[in-house]
Amino acid sequence: MTTLQAPGQTPLRPAEAGELEKATEKRNRRAYLALLIPGLLGLLVSFVFPLAYMVRMSFNRGAPDGVIEETFTFDTYIQPLTDPYYWKVTLDTFQMGVTVGVLCVLVSYPVALFLARSQSKYRSLLLAIAIAPLLTSAVVRTYGWMVILGTNGLVNSSLTGLGIIDTPLKLTNNMTGVTIGLVEIFMPYAILAMISGFGRLSPQLEEAAGSLGASKFNVFTRVTLPLSLPGILTAFLLVFVLSISTFITPRLLGGGSVQVLATEIYDQTTGLLNWPFAAALSVILLVLFGLIIAVYQRLTRKIGG
C-alpha cells in the first residue's frame, strides 16, 4: 500500500492511522445517530406510544357506560375469538377487502397501464386527473356516491327512466354500495401503486415479443401481464389494507347493515364507549394486517425470483 503524504508532515504509523480512522468512524456514526434522533422521537411519540397504549388498553376490562377497569385480562380477546358473530364480522371484513381489492385492480389496471406506457405530452396532466380525487376527502366522495346510488339517485332514475327496471335497485345501504364506493375511492391509490410497480415493464420488451411472433394477446399474457404482476400485487395489497381499515365508507354507505371490524371498532369506541374491547378488536385487525403482509412478501419474492 502506498501512503500519500503531504510535504512537511511526519507520516502516520499504521497503528495511529488505524486508531484515527476508527475514531473518525465512531464520530461519524455518532453524528448519524444524532441525525436520527428527531425522527425516532417523532416515531416514538406518534406511533410507538399510542400503539403500546392501545395494546395495554386491550387488556383492561370495559364496564358499561365507558368505565374502564384497569386490570390484566384476556377476556377482551376471548370474547371476540370465541364468539361466532365476530368470526363472521372478521370473515366479512376479509371478504370485503378481497372483493374491493380485486375489483379495484381490475378497473385501475387499464388506466395504470395506459398512463405508464403513454408517451403523450399530456401524460402528466392525465396522471394528475387520475389521482385528483385524492384532493377531496373520502367523506365527500362517499356522500357523492350516496346521492348517485340512492333510491332516487342518478343510476336508479336513469334505469327507471329508460324503462330497464320498474322498482329502484338497492344500491346503497348495503355491501353493494360500500363496494362501489370503496373501489372508486381507492382507485387513485391503486393506479399510483401500479405505475410505481411497473418498473420492469418497457415498450421494448413488448416490441421484442411482437418481433418474435407474439400476437397482441400473447404479448399481453406472456410479457405485459407477468411483468406488471408486482404492481398489481402491491396495488391489491394496498387497497385490501385500506378497505379493511376504513370505516367511513362502510359506515356511511353501509346503512348500518355492513358490519366489519372497522365499524365495529368505531361503534365500540364512540357508541358503547367500550375502549378495551375496541382496542382488542384493533389488535386483532393489526395481526390480520401482519399476516397479509407476510403472505404478500412471500408472494413477491416468488414472483421476483
Binding site: S202, L205, A208, S211, L212, G213, A214, S215, P226, I303
Partner: protein
Amino acid sequence: MSQTKLSIVDLTKRYAAGLEPAVDRLNMQVEEGHLVALLGPSGCGKTTTLRMVAGLMDPTAGSITVDGKEITHTPVNKRGMGMVFQSYALFPHMNVEQNVAFGLQMRQTPKAEQKKRVAAALDMVQLGHLGKRQTRELSGGQQQRIALARALVVEPTLLLLDEPLSNLDAKLRETMRTEIRSIQQRTRATTLFVTHDQDEALDMADRIAVMNGGLIEQFGSPTEVYERPRTHFVANFIGQANFLQATVVSEVGPAGAGESHYKVDIEGLGGFGAVGSAGLSGSHELVIRPHRLKVTVANAADRDAIKGTIERVSYTGDALSVAVKVGGKTFNTQLLTSSGDLPRPGDTAYLSWSPEDAYILPVNGKGPAS
C-alpha cells in the same frame, strides 16, 4: 448472381404533418446474405428505417418488399424477422432458455425441436452452459449474445440489429463485432445493422448505407464509401479528410471503372492531378485522406511538393498527426512514427500526394440535405 432479399422503395416517415420527414423517400436493395450497415449520426433516420422494416412503425409512404412479397403493412408478429434491441430487451421474468425459446413457442414449434434448436442457438453464441440462468445474472456481453441467439433461433427472414454494441465497453465491442460478423456469415442471415460508429460499419458490413437527414447519401461497399465518397458528408463522416476547393481544368484520360484522370486547379495552390468519375467539369471539392499525404522535412526533389510550416504535432504512439499550414489552409496529415526525431511545430515541411489519392467528389455542396 445474388438475389435481392429486401427492397425498400420511396420509404417515407413523417411523425407529424408539417415536420421534416425523419425518413425521406429512401430507396435501398439488400442482397441475400449481406450484412448492411445503416450508418449515420443520431437523428439521421437510421433507427426509424429499421423500425419500419421490423414493423414496429408504420411508414407514411413507400413500400418494403421481402423475398418479393410486399410487407409494408404486415403486423410485426407476422414478419418473421429477428430483432436485437439496443437494450437487448431480454424478458426479465424468464431464464435464458425461456428467452431463446420464446419465438419458437409463438410459432408453436414442437417441444422436442424447440429444445434442440434452443440448445443449438445457445451453443452458437457459446453460452450453452447458461441456459438455466436468470438474465439479470448475466454480463452485458452475455446478454447481447442471448439476444442474438433469441433473434436467430427462429431462422428469421431478416436479422435486424439496432445499435447492438453501443452498451458494451470498448474491448468487448471489438470481440462482439467479430463474433456477430462470423455468426452472420455462418448463418447467412441477411442483416440490417444500425450504427453510428463508422469503424463498426467498415469492419462488419458488406454494404454501408450512409444516412443523413432522412436520406441515403451513399450506398456501397466499405471501400467504396471510404475511397470513393460521393459527397462531402460521406467523406467527412467516414474517416478523416482534407477538403480542397478545385476547378476541373481538363479530363486527361480514363482511369478505369468509369473514372478519369483530371487536371485540376486547386484554389491558391495551382495545378495538380486528380481522379474522379468520368465527365466532370467545373468547380468541385477534392478530398485527400490525411495518411495519403506525404510529409518530408527536406524537399526530396518532388516537383509537386508544396512548402508549408508545421503548426501542430500530436503523438499517439503508433501514429503521429501533423498539421501543416500552407498559405491560409491547414492540412491534416498522419504518419507512422519511426525512431527518428519528431518534427517540431515551426519547422518547414513539404507536402505531396499522388494524383490517385486526390479524389474529386462527384456531388457538389455538402450533400443534398444540408
